[in-house]
């Protein structure tokens, strides 16, 4: 094995990073083509492998990501395929992981680091808030930090304390961080590739309860799409998606709450109510256009999030929609969120989590008599 890694100087230069990577990604390893049943975990794993294949400056490191392949197996096989220089275990220290990633990003690398669980990213908070988020601004753009911090987040898996936090609001509140969170298998692939392509740092929030969710997707096609987008300089980065169309009210959700919102919409349909579901996907930047277009159409909205409601992403969404769609609204926007309590122990979590009934109650409250 060569002792050095060829670095791409693209991140801090003017060359189109996307073009170079697109060309390289055509060479990525490919399994049988055509749609296959794929888990979100596998889609993320494939996205990492493809990005590493496409660009030698992409590095993966963190706790247990090497031989073990991560406690959720998202980095499975990467060390074997790409060697210990490109996917490796670090000493057990989150501030160290993120701080070192900052330095690597300053010197030609594209680090993709894993925080083992949401609450275990907090030792890195100082690095994230004071450096990852601010370096570009402090240096007037002279230093870019093309790095991704992957965080399995949120609950619903019966995890004990510190394994179920919804920490997205801390990061969304911090100026200078992009915050992505996929809810579908295909988006997991697409969005992780886009996050790695981004010349700005991305907090990549993975809803851990959806890791084993499955979908019929064609990874080969996703790979080709990504290459084509990259070559053309187009991408869906920063765009929300209409996960289900409807006419009567809009459910706005992201990450782990999207499947719950879809289930609520399906239940409402049986009662004759047509609900549109928006999957926010990118919390920062936020897609006002898609979200507001839906609310203007339906005139009613419920925002759903697992995180505590107070001073959160959900409050931000309500504020933005209200500011932009006030005259289209037939009722105040409602929220269904986690309570303002520390994430509960496993046996109590179902009382805490926004569920279909709680969502339907909120929908019922949208002043239908008006």
């Amino acid at each position: 094995m060569s002792p050095t890694i060829t670095t791409s100087s693209e991140a801090n230069g003017n060359v189109s990073a996307a073009t170079a990577r697109a060309a390289a990604s055509a060479a990525a390893t490919v399994e049988a083509s055509g749609p296959q049943t794929v888990t979100m975990a596998k889609a993320l794993n494939t996205a990492l492998a493809d990005a590493m294949q496409a660009d030698p400056s992409v590095l993966v490191f963190g706790e247990d990501v090497g031989l073990l392949g991560g406690v959720f197996r998202i980095t499975d096989g990467l060390t074997k395929t790409f060697g210990e220089q490109r996917c490796f275990d670090t000493p057990l220290a989150e501030s160290g992981i993120v701080g070192m990633a900052v330095g690597m990003a300053m010197n030609g690398m594209r680090p993709v680091v894993e925080m083992q669980f949401d609450a275990f990213a907090y030792p890195a908070f100082e690095q994230i808030v004071s450096h990852v988020a601010k370096m570009h601004n402090r240096t007037k753009g002279a230093v870019k930090l093309p790095m991704v911090i992957r965080i399995p987040y949120a609950g619903g898996i019966g995890g004990v304390e510190h394994h179920c936090d919804s920490s997205e609001s801390y990061y969304a509140h911090t100026a200078g961080l992009k915050v992505f969170t996929p809810a579908t298998v295909a988006d997991a692939y697409r969005m992780l590739r886009e996050a790695i392509d981004s010349d700005d740092p991305v907090m990549f929030m993975e809803p851990k309860k959806l890791y084993w969710s499955k979908d019929l997707v064609d990874l080969e096609e996703l790979r080709a799409q990504h290459a084509a987008n990259a070559a053309a300089g187009t991408s869906s980065e920063g765009r929300a998606a209409v996960a289900r169309s409807g006419t009567d009210a809009t459910l706005i959700a992201y990450g782990p709450s999207v499947p719950t919102a879809l289930a609520a919409a399906a239940a409402a349909a049986e009662e004759g109510r047509s609900l549109e579901v928006i999957d926010v996907r990118s919390i920062v930047p936020f897609d006002d256009e898609t979200v507001c277009a839906s609310v203007r159409k339906t005139g009613r909205a419920v925002v759903i999030a697992e995180a505590h409601g107070f001073a959160s992403v959900s409050s931000e969404i309500v504020a933005r929609v209200q500011e932009r769609c006030f005259h289209h609204l037939a009722a105040p926007i409602r929220r269904v969120t986690g309570f303002d309590v520390p994430y509960p122990a496993p046996k109590l979590e179902h009382y805490y989590l926004p569920g279909v009934d709680r969502i339907l109650d909120a929908v019922d409250d949208l002043q239908w008599e008006n």
Partner: protein
């Protein structure tokens, strides 16, 4: 600063300022500061894996690192706790398999460390344990079912730390070490002769808080014994990825404290080393660091698959160093333990296991209103509103179930 509390007056004369403590140690042991702070050249081991007491010259001791054999009564008490600890570990793992517990990070194979950590402390001392230290928490006197509440999954902890002087079992690695430092600092200000035993694993020594805790304890010259159970792995990551220091105990000298390493499967040596560390800390030596060499015999937790990252042969090697069989052989050889004694201890262990089965086997009803009750001393208006909302939701659900449409 005025500290007013109704506890016994401090005997400040006994407490030495930091500089004096070093020269005092040097004077007491007749060695240099470096020799006092650096661990002995070899780990301390008193009873070998075959259960034989080693000759004093073979125990790894050196001038200034000398350890008297603990009293027979302490050894017997330790053996009883070892047997109970093993039974508890294996009972809990079974309860996890039966779905009765959410998770259990077993200390199977590390029971000697667990037991010694509890037995070396006096009533007024504090322990700051991790998620893996349930057996130590129990050995300290916390009720077994209360100890396991965190893993049963109906609340984050089941015991009152203040009552037992045992911190809540801590998962965010090494954060609790600083709490231990704080308790020791407060005790010092209050004139209490409390010693704090602050525990963590080998992997955790890489965390920033580990460094901060050791440095604070040393700078403020606090009676804290840092106890590192080096079980060779942090989930899948072997020690070699964490540190290339000669040993974890060597880190002590960098902070200006004394370090020692000990065979973590030899409860005799563990008690000797920890008893002395606690005694020195109480006498004003400042903090100490003890590294115990042991092995995580099972996976990290039930959710982990250790075959992905280590060889069975390595595990087998450590099986031969089991802390319990070694102690049994030793005590039997000494005539301190016979079949009757062993049977009585086994019975006690069985009783604790059945207590766990009963306490964790039943489906304990949970009260959803508990969600809101303990966030603040007095619930905020917002929490009251949310609590009423949940109550209303549950009442509607209940009445819908009673009178189906």
């Amino acid at each position: 600063m005025t500290i007013s509390a109704d506890h016994s007056a401090p005997d400040q004369a006994q407490r030495l300022p930091a500089e004096d403590a070093v020269s005092e140690a040097v004077r007491k042991f007749g060695i240099t500061v470096e020799d006092y702070m650096l661990p002995a050249r070899h780990q301390i081991q008193m009873v070998d894996p075959d259960g034989r007491l080693k000759a004093e010259s073979e125990q790894g001791t050196e001038p200034g690192h000398e350890y008297p054999l603990p009293a027979d009564a302490e050894l017997l008490a330790a053996y009883e706790q070892l047997v109970i600890g093993r039974r508890v570990n294996d009972q809990n793992s079974a309860l996890v398999r039966q779905g009765r517990m959410a998770v259990y990070p077993s200390s199977h194979g590390q029971e000697a460390c667990q037991v010694a950590a509890a037995l070396c402390l006096s009533d007024g001392d504090w322990m700051f344990p991790t998620y893996r230290d349930a057996v130590a928490v129990m050995a300290r006197g916390v009720d077994p079912v209360e100890t396991m509440t965190i893993f049963r999954g109906d609340w984050h902890s089941g015991y009152d730390p203040a009552r037992h002087k045992v911190g809540i079992q801590c998962t965010p690695l090494t954060t609790q070490l600083l709490h231990g430092v704080g308790v020791a600092h407060a005790a010092k200000l209050r004139g209490e002769d409390t010693v704090v035993l602050a525990m963590c694993g080998d992997g955790a020594t890489s965390e920033g808080d580990f460094h901060e805790a050791l440095n604070f304890a040393a700078v403020f010259h606090l009676p804290v014994v840092f106890f590192v159970q080096n079980n060779k792995y942090a989930i899948s990551v072997p020690l070699a990825h964490q540190s290339v220091a000669p040993s974890l105990a060597h880190k002590a000298v960098g902070y200006g404290m004394a370090g020692e390493r000990v065979d973590g499967n030899d409860v005799v040596a563990l008690l000797a080393v920890l008893d002395r560390a606690v005694k020195l800390a109480r006498e004003g030596s400042g903090p100490l660091l003890v590294e115990a060499h042991t092995y995580r015999m099972q996976a990290h937790t039930n959710a982990d698959d250790a075959t992905r990252y280590r060889q069975d042969s390595e595990v087998a090697e450590w099986l031969a160093k089991d802390p319990i069989s070694r102690m049994k052989t030793y005590l039997t050889g000494r005539g301190l333990l016979d079949d009757d004694g062993a049977a009585r201890i086994a019975e006690k262990a069985e009783a604790v296991a059945s207590q766990l089965r009963d306490g964790l086997g039943e489906d304990v009803p949970v009260d959803p209103q508990e969600l809101f009750r303990h966030v603040f001393s007095v619930p905020t208006p917002q929490l009251k509103e949310q609590s009423a909302m949940l109550a209303d939701e549950l009442a509607r659900e209940a009445s819908a179930e009673e009178s189906p449409k």
